[in-house]
């Protein structure tokens, strides 16, 4: 609790980094909105439930977009919720259009903006034929990158444009050791060839990551992505990002691609729902504890309380009547 690194940060910064204030504000706001109902069963309970749901990642369900976008944890939870709710769609093998995916997103968040979905679709379709059908997994991973790192991607796009047009953004950066070296390496705009040179691109990205405090993919992984190719286009880069399982794991919201459709706990739940409705056939079993549902994001990125909680499925609460 009293580790030196935590005490090193001034108060506000510490709170901000953990987004604690966001949640506090939101909690109080929710309290205000529903005070008649909540006062029935107590404020302490409300706060317990609220923060429980934050830990479990269910706090973003049916909330407005501004809240969902507010913190990385929210974004990751939203991605996870989307995956869980519509995994069966993917399993069914349906290929859907961008608009339909957007509809599904809107089921969970009524005012989700179309631009984000469009951008995600562009990644999948390589900016081509926007009416094409996409598979669930393709869309999901592209959407993950786009949504979670949306500010990062915007900056990357700007950098890419600059590089394409020949300007080297390195020239205006606060000098670090790496950029100082590369100031002499003026690569002229090679607009004739497609894309930009990978290594130069990487330099700029590295600076970007250092400079900004919003979430970026781990630079090491980005380097890995870029090391395989000489030149790459913007969308090529994004597609590579989305398919890179390391980044996916770093994000921690979604399982690996192979496991995307796999989730026996939820499957069992589903089976129960599909059982013909006769009261005598209610299954009372609990979900098997070895549910292979991957653990939620890195405990280090979350409030420490999370680590103390069970994954919900393993509670007795798999019965749909509870909770």
């Amino acid at each position: 609790m009293l580790s030196p690194e935590r005490l090193a940060l001034p108060d506000y910064e510490y709170l901000a980094q953990r987004h604690v204030l966001t949640y506090m504000e939101d909690a109080v706001c929710q309290l205000l909105e529903n005070k008649e109902d909540i006062s029935q069963y107590g404020i302490a309970r409300f706060f317990t439930e609220y923060f429980n749901s934050v830990c479990q990642g269910t706090h973003i369900l049916f909330r407005e977009f501004s809240f969902i976008q507010a913190t990385p944890h929210n974004r990751a939870s939203f991605l996870r919720a989307f995956w869980r709710c519509f995994r069966t769609v993917g399993k069914n093998g349906d290929l859907l259009t961008m608009k339909e995916y957007h509809c599904l997103l809107q089921l969970l968040c009524p005012d989700f903006p179309l631009e984000l979905t469009q951008k995600a679709a562009r990644i999948v379709l390589m900016d081509d034929a926007m009416d094409c059908l996409m598979s669930f997994s393709d869309f999901l991973f592209a959407f993950q990158i786009q949504f979670y790192y949306s500010e990062f991607l915007d900056s990357v796009a700007a950098i890419y444009q600059d590089l394409l047009s020949g300007k080297n953004p390195n020239t205006v950066i606060v000098p670090t050791s790496s950029s100082g070296q590369h100031r002499q390496r003026q690569v002229l705009g090679e607009a004739s060839m497609e894309g930009v040179e990978a290594s130069l691109f990487y330099q700029c990205l590295e600076n970007l990551c250092d400079r900004h405090k919003y979430s970026c993919p781990p630079p090491a992984l980005v380097k890995e992505v870029l090391s395989n190719v000489q030149r790459l286009t913007f969308y090529g880069f994004l597609v590579a990002l989305s398919k890179h399982h390391g980044i996916n794991q770093a994000l921690g919201a979604l399982p690996d691609k192979g496991d995307l459709m796999h989730g026996p706990s939820l499957d069992e739940e589903l089976e129960r729902l599909l059982v013909p409705r006769s009261p005598g056939l209610i299954q009372l079993g609990h979900a098997s504890p070895e549910a292979s549902w991957p653990a939620f994001p890195d405990p280090s990125r979350l409030a420490p309380l999370e680590a103390l909680h069970h994954i919900p499925e393993n509670d007795g609460s798999t019965e749909e009547t509870d909770d």
Partner: protein, 686 residues
Amino acid sequence: MIPGKYRSVSGRATNNVNCGLHLVIQTSSLPEKNKVEFKLNKDTPSFPGRLLQHDLERNYSSRQGDHINLVSSSMPSFPILQRSSEEKILYSDRLTLERQKLTVCPIIDGEEHLRLLNFQHNFITRIQNISNLQRLIFLDLYDNQIEEISGLSTLRSLRVLLLGKNRIKKISNLENLKSLDVLDLHGNQITKIENVNHLCDLRVLNLARNLLSHVDNLNGLDSLTELNLRHNQITFVRDVDNLPCLQRLFLSFNNISSFDNVSCLADSTSLSDITFDGNPIAQESWYKHTILQNMMQLRQLDMKRITEEERRMASILAKKEEEKKRENQKQSLLKEKKRLTINNVARKWDLQQRVANIVTAQDRKDSDSPSQDPCQIDGSHISASPEETGSLDSGLTSALQGLSVIDSHLVELDGDTLSLYGSGALESLDRNWSAQTAGMVTTVSFTFIEFDEIVQVLPKLKIKFPNSLHLKFRETNLVMLQQFNALAQLRRIDQLTIDPQGNPVVNFTLWKYYVLFRLSHFSMQKINGTEVTQNDMIMAERLFGILAHVASSELPQYRLISILGDARKKQFRYLLETKGKKPGIVNEENNDSKRLIGENTNRATLNYTTRDFYNERLEEIKEKKKFCKMYIEDLVKEATEINMKNEALQKLWPQMFIELVRDAVIEIRNKNSYMKLCLQQITDQK
């Protein structure tokens, strides 16, 4: 001696007459010779009796052959007829020259007081050589080859003129025959009724088997009683109401197809007998009662007496026809009006959509985007460049306003279907519908109305039309699956029809399954006309079941309640309580009821609020958010201050503690002075 060519051929049974030596007498012939019988004889005294065509067509025999001498005259073509004087005296006023193979009319000498002349069954082509017979009353030229009526101008006393079965093409040259009583022109080629207007004594006019196509020009025939027009090609009949005495009119086997074409008959007060058989009009279902209704004076129709019963039926049926016609007219008027209104509504909707599209396109594109296409709106002929889009909007809105002057919405209740066109129609749900009519409505159809607007009136729909089971949506801008959530609040839906036109949501692969999933408690039977199978239901559950599960069981309590509102509070309180009481133990009974409740509520949190409402709500929350932010900031400030103070205290405390201890030790070093000090302090306290 009669020249051979005038000898007739014997062989006709009853009707042969011959001149010369061969004499054939009628069947009932008497052995006595020289007995002649004129059928006509009987009728002669009361000449203007009933002369029916039938009688005239039948030949009467006469027996005059013996006494007729046809001698060739000086003129090569005209034979001269001479009779013996006994004949002349016996039959001084009648002369029969039937079947004499005459090709021309012979010159008849010395018979100036002849009154009846019979030329039947000859080959006469022209009426000639009879001008001198100025006392002629009866002239029979039936069955000849006469092509033109002529040579009659001196026969001023003529009363009966029989010209049937000839080749006459035109009625003419009858000017002087003012006493004509019977005119028989049947079996000719007459195409037009003309030149008969002066025949004011004419009682019978026979124009059957001619080529008449219409009947008019009958004025002046003031005595006409019988008019026979059978077997012509008549389509029109006019002027009959100008015949004051007409009693019998035979129009069988013509081409009359509608009563309007013979409407003058209704105005004739004298008509009592009429035939229409063989006309197209007689095949119509309304024939009899229309005729009867329009010609109340009739006594016989198609040779059958008209009974009172028939008349009554006719008037009833005619009234029904009238009403039906009026109804049809009204219906077609209404239909036309409806069509116009619907067109109007459609146009308005179209314009609205275009405006909306332009607006959203503008929102998306930033103002610095250079490549905006000029927009062309066909309906109002406005072409705009990006700078003018402001004026484009105003142009369109003024076009919109112009349209709304005419009817801008339509409400139609048709038995079991209520159709609403245009958003103005939604207000009609406020009307006072009678319980009976409202109860009969099972289908409600919405067209050209925004779905978001419909959502707002769904509660009203639920109350006012409780039996509505089938909803149809066309051109209602259904774009999101979420919008279907709004339909869950209705009592029941059996069938749902979402027309692809104007509803983009239909293009989604999963929309049907989502509908089945969200509205599963309705157990819908048909979507867009196709039956819902068990497989569909299972698929829907499979696809979206997890969503429901997440939506119900993973939401925190307070969220559930705030979303669901009062109605569900009780249910959930119940759930809460049971959960609290029996945390891991499952009671069979409870599970049942929970399951039942769960089925309905587990997707109840999937709601739809229209975009506007949503934004409104977000606006409202902004205030609260601001307050919360400030409040938290204050708290944080306090907390950090306290924390700082705490930290500061932590830092300073060792020092402070040492000082405290030192001060205390110093104080107590001198026991006595310390004791005195304490005592002093105690006394001071008072």
